[in-house]
Symmetry: C2
Subunit: 161 residues, 2 copies
């Protein structure tokens, strides 16, 4: 009988205005991997009454339902959120820029082979993985190069701001 009662543990979720605002927000800016604060600040412009506790609560619920993705960036204890739509459900990796903090998505499946190897050599049954590459993004690389050039050849005036 216990098993039957267990069906109950998928508690039904409601469609509140606040939840819709959060999903809309993530759909709009979600590819930027937003913090709770950022989400809260944006939503406040449409709903000045909303509480940040509600944002936390809903993000947790949405994550439990598998509708959003909670991303951690080592070295930074705060969570970042993104929509987990059809395209990105296919768990991707993150490129994190040490200069500007940008979090960039990267699709790839090369780790499947590695997972098989781990199961074989370590007896560890891999369910999924979190991968982050740290470095300097394209934009910052270009900015740095420009700044470097400006130093090398004294530069035509406007190069210095």
């Amino acid at each position: 009988m216990d098993e039957i009662r267990n069906d109950d543990n998928k508690k039904e979720t409601r469609n509140t205005r606040q939840k819709k605002l959060i999903i809309d927000c993530l759909n709009k800016y979600g590819s930027n991997h937003m913090t709770v604060e950022e989400i809260f600040n944006l939503i406040q412009q449409q709903d000045t009454q909303i509480s940040i506790a509600t944002v936390y609560r809903n993000l947790r619920l949405l994550e439990e339902q598998g509708l959003v993705n909670k991303v951690f960036v080592a070295d930074d204890a705060t969570a970042y959120y993104e929509i987990k739509d059809a395209a990105s459900s296919h768990s991707h990796h993150h490129l994190i820029c040490r200069q500007c903090g940008a979090i960039i998505d990267f699709e790839d499946d090369l780790l499947e082979a590695l997972e098989k190897m781990i199961t074989l050599t370590k007896g560890f049954q891999v369910q999924d993985h979190h991968v982050a590459f740290y470095g300097i993004c394209r934009d910052c690389t270009e900015k740095n190069k420009a700044a470097q050039d400006a130093v090398e050849k004294p530069a035509p005036d406007e190069a210095r701001q």
Copy 2:
């Protein structure tokens, strides 16, 4: 000439009793990836006066000097520490058991290829990476199998504790 002046920014570090205790502790249990609390509790047995703030401080210094490694496990906001000796300086990956929480080291270099690809396709200059595989460790897999067997064939008494 700038390079010479840069030597200054390595502020000199001192050899205190507390720092030694922390390194000893990590050398002894370091392969277990300990939390600050765990390190603090163990050291307290040898130095009842030590403050947990000192443990935090020294771990931060040691990490900045590259002597210890700070490991984050997504979904868990607390940091884990391990010694970064010759063997493990060669940045390894972590297998994290969802059942017992074990953090297991895994040596591998297959990601170099992936890093090259990222630089090519995304223009992102990879400096290093953090990789974690989540799943069930060998011990837990075996325990689960044993438990499962115990249910299937009613079991010779001692199987139930």
